[in-house]
């Protein structure tokens, strides 16, 4: 199934080439300096080998010019590495607008995936080639890390916050999926397969199997089941703020400061409502921690988001400009 060239991973994503380019540069630098040092040591050891018992070496104390030379040269080489590495990281960090979103939840020891049209999978991930895919990832228990070596992408999956991983697959095929962060007994069993397909095949696959409700629809149902809708009405008469057109906006908080509404903030509003109280409201929203699973949280978030983007196809949601990819703590700007 996996036809890897045994000494080098496949390049199956748009990012892979960039990462490999730094790698080759590093290998060249390493080879050069290792051979230089080893060569000199062996050469000197032979050339200046001790010829009689009482021989001593020459007194040479140093050379400022040489010291400067081998301080400055390594410094510049490493700065090239730094800039190059940071640039590639930057490129790989920002998901492009219009990326196809997929929800991923890690738990001991499986990967649960839900596509925006509702289709679910476990320990597998089907994606189309040629289209940026953005995984919004959370964990139900401990740390995990979503790693696709042939795509050269990896991101830790952290309980209590969302991390994002994105890539554009370029070559149809099956690729390894590994959990890279140690997570307990069956860590090495928390693996799976990523299948990249031609767009047409992907559509066929998507419409194939039994699709569950879409996360938005499931979230809408949860919103009613969990009685969120008793406080959050579609007008401003409720005990809680109106959630329509909220996503991506700035909200004023009690005690000053504002916060941009993103996934992490909505999550926090549901599990730790007292952490940031909206100005003009009483802190009477109960916590839903323990009552909703990580997946349900993602569905609720998808629903709240959908209230702000009426008419757009789910899954093609525009990227909110301020979504921090990693922090559970929304950015709070003090006024």
């Amino acid at each position: 199934m996996f036809t890897n060239f045994p000494f080098f991973p496949q390049q199956a994503s748009a990012q892979a080439g960039q990462v490999d380019a730094i790698y080759f540069f590093m290998v060249a630098v390493t080879a050069f300096f290792s051979i230089l040092i080893a060569g000199l040591v062996v050469y000197f050891a032979f050339k200046y080998r001790r010829r009689h018992r009482d021989e001593i070496g020459h007194a040479i104390h140093g050379s400022l010019a040489l010291e400067l030379l081998w301080t400055v040269i390594p410094f510049f080489i490493t700065m090239v590495m730094f800039v190059w590495g940071a640039k590639v990281f930057f490129d790989m960090y920002r998901p492009p607008a219009g990326a196809m979103e997929i929800h991923v939840v890690g738990k001991q020891w499986m990967w649960k995936v839900q596509h925006m049209d509702g289709r679910r999978e476990i320990n597998e991930l089907h994606v189309p080639v040629g289209r940026p895919v953005k995984l919004i990832m959370g964990s139900e228990d401990v740390l995990h890390s979503y790693y696709i070596p042939d795509f050269r992408v990896k991101a830790d999956v952290i309980p209590g916050r969302y991390n994002v991983l994105w890539f554009t697959a370029t070559r149809p095929g099956n690729y390894h999926l590994f959990c890279a962060e140690y997570c307990g007994t069956k860590h090495s069993g928390m693996i799976g397969t990523v299948t990249a397909m031609e767009p047409a095949d992907f559509q066929a696959w998507l419409s194939g199997g039994r699709a569950d409700e879409s996360p938005v629809a499931a979230g809408e149902k949860l919103f009613a089941d969990l009685t969120c809708n008793t406080c959050h009405l579609t007008d401003t008469q409720g005990r809680g703020p109106m959630l329509t057109n909220l996503f991506g906006k700035q909200v004023e908080l009690q005690g000053g400061g504002t916060v941009t509404v993103d996934e992490a903030y909505i999550r926090e509003s549901i599990v730790l409502p007292q952490a940031k109280v909206v100005a003009g409201f009483q802190p009477l929203m109960p916590t839903f921690q323990g009552l909703v699973t990580e997946e349900q949280l993602l569905q609720l978030i998808a629903y709240v988001r959908s209230l702000s983007q009426q008419g757009e196809a789910p899954g093609a949601a525009p990227q909110s400009p301020t979504m921090p990819q990693s922090s559970s703590r929304p950015v709070v700007e003090k006024k």
Binding site: F8, P9, V19, I22, Y23, M26, T30, S34, A38, F44, A45, Y48, R50, R51, R53, I56, G57, H58, A59, I60, H61, G62, S63, L66, E67, T71, P74, T78, M79, M81, F82, W84, A86, K87, V88, F90, M92, D141, V142, L143, Y147, R152, V153, K154, D156, I158, P159, G160, R161, H176, Y182, G184, T185, K186, H187, S188, G189, L272, S326, S327
Partner: protein
């Protein structure tokens, strides 16, 4: 013919267990550290045995996880960190600076007892069922999920930390206050400089790990929400605290080895070091800058990009002083009088392996590349090149170099050369394939793995077998030398330095009269004292 020395000055167990002689305490450490080294090695061998085949067939997943955890905990906290400072540093620093003992001999003995107490906790944790969190104790797994003996092991780490702190304190005070007349800072052996820098890291860093493991215990037992998000904590906070100590801890392991290499290279090239002050100050630079790079362990844990960039650039900067050292050592053997005795073989091994280890660290500091390499076998290979290829090579080199001084006996040189060769070959065969399989994507801490990674793992296991023979051999010829070895003269290598001016083994008080120092350590050529460069 039996002259009085520190070994025969007092007999019976009590004379050893209650000694305040830094040399005897060094031997107490030597014995206990050797025990933990082979224990950690046994765990490593179990790991390699399991990984011989892709399926998980030798150990259960649970036991495998315990093996790599115990391997890491034992090797890092009970072998690598104390090894060179507590054994060689303890034995040599007072002699190298012309003192009769460390500044606080009683504290020195207490440090050893603390170390042993910490070790007992760890052994109890191992024997009563083991720990399975990884030596990194990452939360919330360690505080909320793991149901192994986390607290006992964490306490072991906590306790032994105090031994490091006290040893560091003892060294710093000793080096400041007890140098012989004429022994200025820039005449100090580089071994002493390296230990000075190491002691700084021990004193400043170790309290942080102590507090961190205590917080883990508090969360686990009292359910205080510190790291577990379910209790309102932040798991990544743990990683910051942990690596704030554990990155500098790498320098606790490698700086003393660098000190050893500086001594050996000078002694076996019969030549003073090239660029003395650059080597001395690069130790300090590493110790200080090393505190500012911990974030390179969490590039993919969702740290802000800008924080990541800072950590990345500082990680590159800290590489420069290490490069300076390597170039200076290489320049030192230029026009020396080089003899390839076993300590020098270890030093050459160190140079090669540490260079590769350091350079592969540059891969991991490149943020874009680290995304792919983080938590793979590439990382495992990299840090073993530093810790085993660097620190253990340095330790073994030092042990061979000073063994005649410590015991007063000569060991079998051909056997020692053979061991050095086996260690070098075995080491490379074990860890080089791991760079390749790491780039292929094999994650670390995997009990089972896909079959296409097997070739590399078979090579690693084969290498580990050779390596263990290389490590066991010295046990035999060292022990043999104690009983059957030829007595060693005061200076068997024709090396320079105060430690070679006292008899082998040295008398209890080291020096009958305090020496007066008039020049730097390794002055072989009858040169005028040239200004240090």
């Amino acid at each position: 013919m039996d002259t009085l020395n520190y070994i025969n000055n007092g007999h019976g167990l009590a004379s050893w267990l209650l000694t305040k002689d830094h040399k005897r305490i060094a031997l107490l450490y030597l014995v206990s550290i050797t025990f933990f080294f082979f224990l950690g090695g046994l765990f490593a061998f179990m790991i390699r045995l399991e990984l011989l085949t892709p399926a998980g067939d030798v150990l259960t997943a649970e036991n495998y996880n315990k093996m790599f955890t115990m391997h890491g905990v034992v090797m890092v906290f009970f072998f690598l960190i104390p090894s060179i400072p507590a054994v060689l540093g303890n034995f040599l620093i007072p002699i190298m600076i012309g003192a009769k003992d460390l500044a606080f001999p009683r504290l020195n003995l207490i440090s050893w007892y603390i170390y042993v107490l910490g070790g007992i906790f760890t052994l109890v944790a191992a024997l009563s069922g083991g720990v399975d969190t990884g030596w990194t104790f990452y939360t919330p797994y360690s505080t909320a999920a793991a149901n192994s003996h986390v607290i006992t092991a964490a306490l072991g780490v906590f306790i032994t930390g105090f031994s490091s702190i006290l040893t560091g304190l003892n060294f710093i005070v000793t080096i400041h206050r007890m140098r012989a007349p004429g022994l200025t800072w820039f005449r100090l052996p580089l071994f002493v400089w390296a230990h000075y820098a190491t002691s700084l890291v021990m004193i400043l860093g170790t309290p942080v790990i102590a507090i961190t493991v205590l917080l883990v215990a508090a969360e686990r037992v009292l359910h205080m929400g510190i790291f577990d998000p379910a209790l309102g904590g932040d798991p990544v906070l743990f990683q910051h605290l942990f690596w704030f100590y554990s990155h500098p801890a790498v320098y606790i392991m490698i700086l003393p080895a660098m000190g050893v290499i500086s001594e050996i290279v000078q002694a076996f090239a019969r030549k003073n070091v090239f660029g003395y002050s650059f080597i001395a100050f690069s130790s300090l630079a590493i110790a200080i800058i090393g505190f500012l790079v911990w974030g390179h362990h969490i590039f993919v844990a969702g740290q802000s990009v800008y924080a990541g960039m800072l950590f990345s650039i500082i990680s590159y900067i800290v590489a420069v002083p290490s490069a300076i050292k390597v170039f200076n050592w290489t320049a030192t053997i230029y026009r020396g009088s080089i003899s390839l005795d076993s300590p020098m073989l270890y030093a050459f091994g160190f140079l090669g392996l540490f260079t590769i280890g350091g350079l592969t660290g540059l891969f991991l500091a490149a943020m874009g590349l680290d995304i792919h390499m983080h938590d793979t076998y590439f990382v495992v290979a990299h840090f073993h090149y530093i810790m085993v290829g660097g620190a253990i090579m340095g330790y073994l080199g030092g042990l061979h170099y000073w063994w005649p001084k410590i015991t007063g006996k000569l060991y079998s040189e051909p056997a020692a050369k053979l061991a050095a060769g086996l260690v070098f070959i075995g080491f490379n065969l074990t860890f080089f394939p791991q760079f390749l399989v790491g780039y292929l994507g094999m994650p670390r801490r995997y009990h089972m793995y896909p079959p296409e990674f097997q070739v590399f793992n078979v090579m690693s296991t084969l290498g580990a077998t050779i390596l263990s023979v290389g490590y066991l051999l010295p046990m035999f010829y060292f022990v043999h030398s104690i009983f059957r070895g030829k007595p060693s003269p005061a200076d068997p290598w024709g090396a320079k330095g105060l430690e070679w001016e006292v008899p082998s083994p040295p008398p209890t008080e080291n020096f009958a009269v305090t020496p007066i120092v008039t020049h730097g350590t390794h002055q072989y050529a009858p040169s005028k004292e040239v200004g240090v460069v």
